[in-house]
């Protein structure tokens, strides 16, 4: 049976994954491959006085030891080129690579790495609190010489890696005439991506080229990073993908790949770098910790007439993707609900002596919406208005604009989402039926689909199957193994198993923006639809000749071309493809797609690098929680998601993304504290102390999809994957606030926070 859009199909990678046959990054093996162990800084900050590798070199089976002296004199970085592969004269975070030991076996490499002696004159580490206060040493004394990768620099100085500032007129006046002023301060901890497969990469160097095999989410970004850091051309690097054991953003940039490339270059061997779980945690570009203050002026009718927002974000020791994210508050805070006046915003990204932070599903949207929605509850309570009612009164409508001047044409979907939620989970009924220690939270958001380009080539084989060649990759979401496969198969009238996707290879497939920002099914899917439509046209033309019928009378069904209305006049697609191949040429087509730029107000702020939400989506979440008054534990007992999907391509995949996003969001909101000590070291350093929620801690999430097709993407699909996590902390924190009558300003809300609040409340009573 032909695959259909909106129908179910098995993931093409499912059997291999379940039977253990899938080849992940850690499984890659090459003849003559050697293994690397990384010598890392034991301290967060200091002057690197010396690295003695003599003893390590003499250890058994050691191939070579690589130090900073062996690396090219070049810098790299996704947004700002502030990184090198190995620390040279300074160490900037605990776990920073200092040397690479290469040996015949992994055990020998690890043993020899332990014999490398590192001498460091330790300095007092700079944490974010110190950086904000202007204390401590300048972590990058050469900051002024760093080159922005895309040519445009942004305001930065000393330990401030990026400052975004919006200073519209009239803010002070709004506060001066306010009937009420509501202010809140929030903090958020880091969150570890905690995928199953720790990072791994294998590199070889031959004939002037680097070849990397790695389970990366973004092969072309890794290619760029390796090229920058090794000081070579982009085309001198080839990146070949492997099955990804999860990434959630942490495998978008090149972290282990440059280490492997450098080691391969210096030793002349194929080298595999594979992190232990402990190393992976210690060095992972986690979702950043942040502090926020949000202050709103209200007039006597309860309308929001002015706002001030500040956000301090922890960049860690190097920037990675982070300078982009410093502008995201402008598109979140002040969107969704109408702000009838100006907003002053200052967002700063701080260098600290901690591991670099980075992308994690939903990026800073998770804590920004948590702040905005808790603040909305605070405002509603101040005004004595029901929380849902207040939100509905001030909800965005079609054509309302965010603080960057982006017009949200379909923002009216928000009201539709509230309505559908009301059908599913009537607000008053929930309030009336809450049990003891229970509370309900409600939250709304606009989110985006990453606009980066993607390319798809479809090739018909003479057996009637289709190859889908793309550098878009499946990080586990099903975006390729279901989404793209489904689009191609349904367009060509093929059955399950008749479309095979290639692994990404930067030498073979066109540029792809990586598996990030919910983009693959919507954006690459547009290219896939276009390429398969072209292939379809070629098949129809050839089949028309074979069947002696008019092109318009032919349909492709179940792997056959047939004349509509006469089921006996058919020809298998294999025969059509073979006929074409040996006459006019093979049946193949390539298409690429990138989201057109979205207009915005260029004068809205200084330093803003990321100014719009492309292919916007709209969401409303509701959470019911129960607080355990013995332990302070919070249990999420009900969770409802109403999500605008544009068009659901793969219902199983879409549902899975929502369930998984909420699971991760519950982790973020209640369990996963990755704390940073005053000494700038991570407090939670293993999965024993870093508490990921378990299946038993997660409710079965109720999902309602809205289908308001996007006018630009091929099938009207919008991004699905990121959005579910974006509102989780907002919905859960407001529910805990309702259950306890207390505001919890720090995410995650831990049992300790709740317990001490309960105790305080008892003492007052």
């Amino acid at each position: 049976m032909s695959v259909t859009i909106g129908g179910t199909m098995d993931r093409t990678d499912g059997v291999a994954k379940v039977t253990g046959k899938a080849q992940y990054g850690v499984d890659h093996v090459e003849a003559g491959m050697a293994h690397a162990a990384v010598v890392r800084s034991p301290v967060p900050a200091g002057r690197l006085v010396g690295v003695d590798v003599g003893a390590a070199r003499r250890m058994p089976e050691v191939v070579g030891v690589v130090t900073a002296a062996d690396q090219p004199d070049s810098y790299g970085g996704w947004v700002l080129q502030d990184q090198r592969i190995l620390a040279s004269d300074q160490v900037r975070y605990e776990g920073e690579p200092i040397a690479i030991v290469v040996a015949e076996t992994r055990a020998a490499a690890i043993a020899a790495a332990a014999a490398v002696r590192v001498e460091i004159e330790e300095w007092e580490a700079v944490t974010m609190a110190k950086a904000v206060a202007g204390e401590g040493h300048v972590i990058h004394p050469d900051w002024q010489s760093y080159v922005p990768t895309f040519g445009v620099d942004h305001p930065r100085w000393g330990n401030c890696a990026c400052e975004v500032r919006a200073e519209p007129d009239g803010v002070d006046e709004a506060f001066a005439r306010a009937a009420h002023v509501v202010e809140d301060t929030f903090t958020a901890n880091r969150q570890y991506q905690a995928y199953l497969e720790p990072k791994a990469a294998t590199a070889s160097y031959a004939d002037g080229r680097y070849i990397l095999h790695t389970a990366t989410q973004y092969p072309f970004n890794v290619r760029e990073r390796v090229a920058q850091l090794m000081g070579v051309r982009l085309s001198d690097v080839r990146v070949v993908g492997k099955t990804i054991g999860g990434g959630f953003g942490a495998k978008l940039d090149g972290w282990v790949e440059p280490l492997a490339a450098l080691a391969a270059r210096v030793t002349g061997r194929t080298v595999q770098v594979r992190l232990s779980r402990a190393e992976d945690i210690l060095t992972c570009p986690m979702r950043e910790n942040a502090t926020m203050t949000i202050r709103t002026a209200l007039d006597d009718e309860g309308r929001m007439i002015g706002r001030q927002f500040t956000c301090e974000m922890d960049n860690g020791a190097y920037s990675g993707e982070m300078p982009w994210l410093a502008s995201l508050p402008l598109t979140v805070i002040g969107a969704v609900y109408k702000l009838h006046g100006p907003m002053r915003a200052v967002c700063r990204l701080w260098y600290t002596n901690t591991p670099p932070t980075g992308a994690f599903r939903g990026v800073n949207g998770v804590y920004l919406y948590m702040a905005q929605e808790q603040h909305m509850d605070h405002i509603a309570d101040t005004l004595g208005v029901d929380r849902r009612e207040y939100r509905l009164r001030h909800l965005f409508e079609d054509g309302d604009a965010s603080r960057t001047g982006q017009v949200l044409e379909q923002a009216g979907i928000l009201r539709q989402a509230f309505d559908r939620l009301e059908e599913r989970a009537p607000w008053q009924e929930i309030l009336d039926n809450l049990g003891p220690n229970q509370g309900v939270g409600i939250a709304a958001a606009v989110w985006m689909t990453n606009p980066l380009p993607g390319e798809v080539t479809i090739k018909m084989s003479e057996d009637g199957t289709a190859s889908l060649v793309t550098a878009a990759n499946d990080n586990g979401s099903g975006a390729v193994s279901m989404g793209l496969t489904q689009i191609v198969a349904s367009t060509l009238g093929l059955s399950e198993g008749d479309v095979r996707a290639s692994m990404p290879d930067t030498d073979i497939s066109g540029y792809d923006g990586g598996s990030q920002g919910s983009r693959t099914t919507a954006i690459v899917g547009t290219a896939a639809l276009e390429a398969s439509t072209k292939v379809r046209e070629q098949l129809l033309a050839t089949a028309a000749g074979l069947l002696e019928a008019h092109v318009d009378d032919i349909e492709l069904v179940d792997g056959q071309a047939r004349v509509k209305g006469s089921p006996s006049a058919t020809v298998p697609l294999g025969q059509v493809a073979a006929a074409a191949t040996f006459t006019g040429g093979a049946v193949t087509a390539t298409s690429s797609y990138a989201t057109p730029p979205v207009p915005f107000d260029a004068g809205c702020a200084t330093g803003a690098l990321f100014t719009t939400m492309c292919t916007p989506t709209y969401h409303v979440h509701l959470a019911v929680v129960e607080v355990d008054d013995v332990t302070g534990n919070v249990d999420v007992v009900r969770y409802v998601v109403v999500q605008d999907a544009g068009k659901v391509i793969s219902p199983v995949g879409a549902r899975g993304q929502v369930q998984g996003g909420i699971a991760q969001g519950i982790g973020y909101s209640l369990y996963e504290s990755q704390r940073i000590g005053d000494d700038a070291r991570l407090v939670e350093r293993s999965l024993e102390s870093y508490r990921l929620p378990l299946a038993v801690d997660i409710p079965d999430v109720e999902v309602v999809f809205l289908e308001n097709p996007d006018p630009q993407t091929g099938l009207g699909a919008k991004g699905i994957g990121e959005a579910p996590i974006v509102l989780s902390a907002a919905a859960i924190s407001t529910a805990v606030r309702h259950a306890t009558g207390r505001t919890f300003n720090a995410i995650p809300i831990t049992p300790e926070d709740v317990m001490f609040a309960l105790q305080e409340a008892e003492e007052v009573r």
Partner: protein
């Protein structure tokens, strides 16, 4: 590099006690291995031999006998939660149900749990409530110790290196009793207890007052222990929420919890009285439930 550990899987009791006699502390007994393997991986143990006892016959049963219920050394947590003789003993069965996850329960043993002597060993409080006796054997001799004399400190027991623990006996459960286990952890499974409490109440049906009270707490001091101050407060009183709250507060006497990455000392001290009160209230409910069935 350290020399590799030899693994020997014994098939008879004699083989085990002989090997222990010969090797003493150079032999490390391994039952389910859920503690041993982790400690080996962390480099905390370096025995010459891992002496595996899972195939030794006669150690894997729960049997009612003289002096109470006998749990052999190979009785697992999964057996405790499902065996008809133990599944009704909530102080034990609810603890067994919450040791790690199903995998841990399927292979982890109760004896391994107490010999490992973690301050947070989940079965210990329930066993203390049941007056458990520990049976030890070595070549040519045997002895029995009350559990509270067997566990001596964090990872420290009265066991001699030559001794095998063959099993545990718990005293017969009195009539009109009800018991409970409360575990405090951040998740619903796979947690090292932040606080663990086992309680048992015996209520005199003629007076409605508490005839006997047992309160045992884990993870709040180096050794899980009974809380005599709480117990004394309860005996002779009618079960009420206020009484249980007071008994909970009394359990703070003797509690000296640590401050670690899992939970602060302050939190453990805040939770302990509440967990004790909750366990007592559940125990009391169980007495009532037993009475209404009878």
């Amino acid at each position: 590099m350290q020399s590799p550990v030899r693994f020997h899987s014994a098939t008879t009791f004699e083989e085990v006690v002989d090997a222990l006699d010969e090797l003493g502390s150079e032999a490390r007994l391994i039952a389910g291995g859920t503690d041993v393997m982790i400690q080996l991986a962390r480099g905390e143990l370096s025995p010459q031999v891992l002496l595996h006892i899972e195939r030794v016959p006669g150690l894997g049963t729960v049997a009612a006998g003289e002096g109470g219920l006998h749990l052999g050394a190979l009785v697992t947590h999964a057996m405790v939660r499902s065996d008809p003789a133990t599944c009704a003993l909530a102080a034990l069965a609810d603890a067994a149900r919450q040791v790690g996850g199903w995998q841990t329960q399927a292979i982890g043993t109760v004896v391994g749990n107490i010999v490992n002597a973690s301050p947070a060993a989940d079965l210990t409080p329930g066993l203390l409530v049941h007056d458990a006796m520990v049976h030890l054997s070595r070549r040519g001799s045997e002895r029995t110790l009350p559990l509270d004399q067997f566990v001596k400190g964090r990872r420290e027991t009265a066991r001699e290196p030559q001794e095998l623990v063959t099993g545990i006996t718990i005293a017969p459960t009195p009539e009109h009793s009800g018991e409970a286990f409360v575990k405090v952890g951040r998740r619903k499974a796979m947690e090292v207890s932040i606080v663990a409490v086992a309680t048992r109440l015996v209520v005199d049906p003629s007076t409605g007052t508490i005839a006997d009270a047992r309160v045992a707490v884990g993870a709040v001091s180096p050794i899980p222990h009974r809380a005599p101050a709480s117990e004394q407060l309860l005996i002779g009183q009618r079960p009420t929420a206020d009484l249980f709250a007071a008994a909970g507060r009394a359990a703070l006497e003797g509690a000296d919890p640590i401050d670690d990455v899992r939970a602060s000392r302050r939190y453990r001290l805040a939770v302990l009285p509440r967990a004790v009160a909750q366990a007592l209230s559940r125990s009391s409910d169980h007495v009532d439930a037993a009475r209404s069935v009878a």
